[in-house]
């Protein structure tokens, strides 16, 4: 697998280290809420390429040598049982957790060697972390934008778009600490989208989100992928992944058990059945007979 960096001018516009972000030239064509579609690289470099990723916490090996290629422009699902190492793997792939071994390339750029440039291409929604929740929803998105060096007008415009698209406009001035779990997910997603990244990595984005909002989010993500962006989502919900994603990887016990297009991986079965086959662990006992009421 070659990782030679692409020529800079072939990289998407955001990869240019310009301090001021372009004011979304393509955005008006699409729905106003759609983030700037990255004019994605013509090269063959995958959006995300992970090689030999290892992580040990004390005695416990959380991730034991993961290799993964996420093609640019794909909608990639990451599934696995609880404690499979999904979150750990995604944290290492997004620069939040330093791997013990292995490399991460984002659009051909070595993330851990060039963290600042690499992070510019990434938009992430981690699971199980706090937000700066003493800010209001609008302030939090604005903070995420300004922190990435965007100018005030662009940030204000996109903040309004994102709040509208995610159905949070009415709660723009409510403190995030008073948001429900689903609203918190949505505001975090908005913060991940504000700088129109090339690669979105979302850890459990649909957890606690109501069906209507989930449909809105799916539509936003579909539009984003259609315009050339790449999305990685982790989820427990096989049905959702089967419907939504074109690629999928099954992770369990810190290993990749299967990866490829959804049709390749499920091999004629439903993804859920295939997943249970791969991961194992179904209980086939007669247990809990006392629980039956008659």
């Amino acid at each position: 697998m070659a990782h030679e960096p692409e020529p800079r001018d072939q990289l998407p516009p955001l990869a240019d280290a310009a301090p001021a972000y372009p004011a979304a030239p393509a955005a008006p064509v699409l729905a106003p809420a759609t983030p700037t579609p990255p004019t994605h690289a013509a090269g063959t470099a995958p959006a995300l390429s992970v090689r030999g990723l290892w992580k040990k916490f004390g005695e416990k090996i959380a991730v034991a040598g993961i290799d993964l290629d996420v093609p640019a422009g794909s909608f990639y699902g990451l599934v696995g049982p609880n404690g499979a190492g999904k979150t750990t793997a995604l944290s290492m792939a997004t620069g939040l957790l330093r791997p013990d071994f292995g490399s991460v390339h984002v659009h051909g750029l070595d993330l851990w060697a060039n963290p600042l440039e690499g992070k510019r291409l990434l938009g992430i929604l981690p699971d199980g972390v706090r937000l700066f929740d003493r800010l209001t929803g609008a302030q939090l998105i604005t903070y995420a934008g300004l922190l990435r060096g965007m100018d005030r007008e662009t940030v204000a415009e996109r903040t309004a778009d994102l709040l509208e698209a995610l159905g949070l406009a009415a709660d723009a001035n409510t403190f995030v600490v008073d948001y429900s779990a689903g609203m918190t997910k949505k505001i975090a997603l908005a913060s991940a989208l504000i700088h129109a990244p090339n690669l979105l990595v979302l850890d459990e984005p649909f957890e606690a989100v109501d069906p209507v909002s989930a449909a809105n989010i799916r539509e936003i993500l579909n539009g984003y992928v259609a315009s050339g962006g790449t999305v990685i989502v982790s989820s427990h919900v096989m049905d959702l992944v089967q419907r939504m994603c074109d690629h999928v990887a099954v992770i369990a016990g810190g290993h990749v058990l299967a990866a490829g297009t959804v049709d390749e991986v499920r091999a004629g079965q439903s993804l859920e059945d295939r997943f249970v086959d791969l991961v194992g662990g179904r209980q086939t006992t007669e247990g809990l007979s006392w629980l039956r009421t008659s």
């Binding site: 620069g95 990434l122 706090r130 003493r134 302030q139 300004l146």
Partner: protein
Amino acid sequence: MVAHLVRLKLTLLRNTLKKSVWQTVGLVLGILYGLGVISMALIGLTVLGTTAPEMAGQIITIVGSVVVLAWWIVPLFAFGVDATLDPQRFVTFAVPQRQLLAGLAVAGLVGIPGIVTLVASAGTALAWWRSPLAALAALVGALLAVALCVVGSRATTTALAPLLDSRRYREVLSIAAFVPLMLAGPIIGWATSAIARGQEVLPVIADVLGWTPFGAPWAVASAVSDGAWGLALARLAIAVVVLVAAWVVWDRALAKALVAPHGGASAGKSKGLGWFDRFPATPVGAVAARCLTYWFRDPRYSGSIAVVPLLPVLLWFVGSSMGIDGGDGFKELMLVLGPVTAFTFGFAISADVAYDHTAFWTQVSSGVSGFADRAGRVLAAAVIGVPVVLVFAVASVAFTGRWDLLVATIGLSLGVLGAGLGVSSVVSARLLYPVPKPGDSPFKSPQGAAMATLVAQMITMLVLAALCLPAAGLALTNVLTGAAVWGWLTLVVGVGLGVVFLVMGMRWGGRLVDQRGPELLQQVMSYK
């Protein structure tokens, strides 16, 4: 049910001890402290028994009232101090309420404060050893008082639980709690000297307290000792009536709490973008705006702001008690107000990354440079710190009338502020220790963190003190010699070194954040 709940509490206690050595050390220290208090109380009470019975009754009534009052009020401020037997946790179990109430009441006594109160209260009988009848009355009164402590504290916390559920109210209360805590020492000292001066007020206070529910049970014995049976009965009646009333309030409130859903408090709102509109639209401005928002809205930061106005009061108390020959005290002490305030502000951001807790991922993932992150945090602290420090420095000079020391005071204050912010910029990225998490009470000390906290804070303070030595030395020379040139030297050296330390600190701290951002994030993630 009573036995069940007591056993549950003991099991919970045992399990926390298994979790960490420091918890065990904490408990042992607590037990030793408790034993110390008990023996002091018992010795004191026995000695009191040898004095005039009026005196003994008065002192027992006053001290006892304070104890009952503390039981009623402290849990309100220190929310979350002991939630091991939170009634909310029994919602899903089908426990008859009468039994639950009795169980919670008895279990409330299990623990160091409960046992100390129980033993010391029973010990009040010792003070009446010369009159067996009064001793018996003291025992009855003590039992009533302990019941009042426990039931009253349950009644206030349960009845006010809906209020305590509101985030805003909890925050305001936790900041308000800083005031008595900061001023407790000086006020106690001031009160004792006042009492020593005018012993004639003691009987009046005791007499008034004897008619309140806090003092009534304690005052029964002295009435019996005086042979005033009517009075004793009246006081007994007050205590019993209030106890029953508290029990009913608790019973009603608990019944309501068990069926009312948790939470549901109205959401807080704010208009517009606040500080984000007032700072430049750069990463540094964004960090500063975010931090400043937290300074005003997060009780862990607002606590430091709330402390600042109390500093001059504290210095005034200390200064006036240092007075020689009953003069108006050591007024000049107030001159350290500027530097002390600067020290407070400088130190306030020394745990900034730990205060962010896991929200620090925002900084890590955005690729913001470490220097910009440091600079933003310093800017936020300076926006409040510089004006306050300058005003305090000038005001302290005006208060003491030592205008000859104005330049030196300002120089030293600004020097301390610069060095403090610089040191904190490095420390917050290097010496992390667990702090109260976002949304927790500022008083809640995280489990097993005492040692790390102590070491980190000691190192920070020592380094900061060392860096401030040159300016402090020059300022002291100015005080001793009275030559104005030393004042100007303090200003030049203080501000100069302050700026140098500040820039160096931000650079070094910024490099640490750049290099160790993911490691810092992992570290705060481990602070559960």
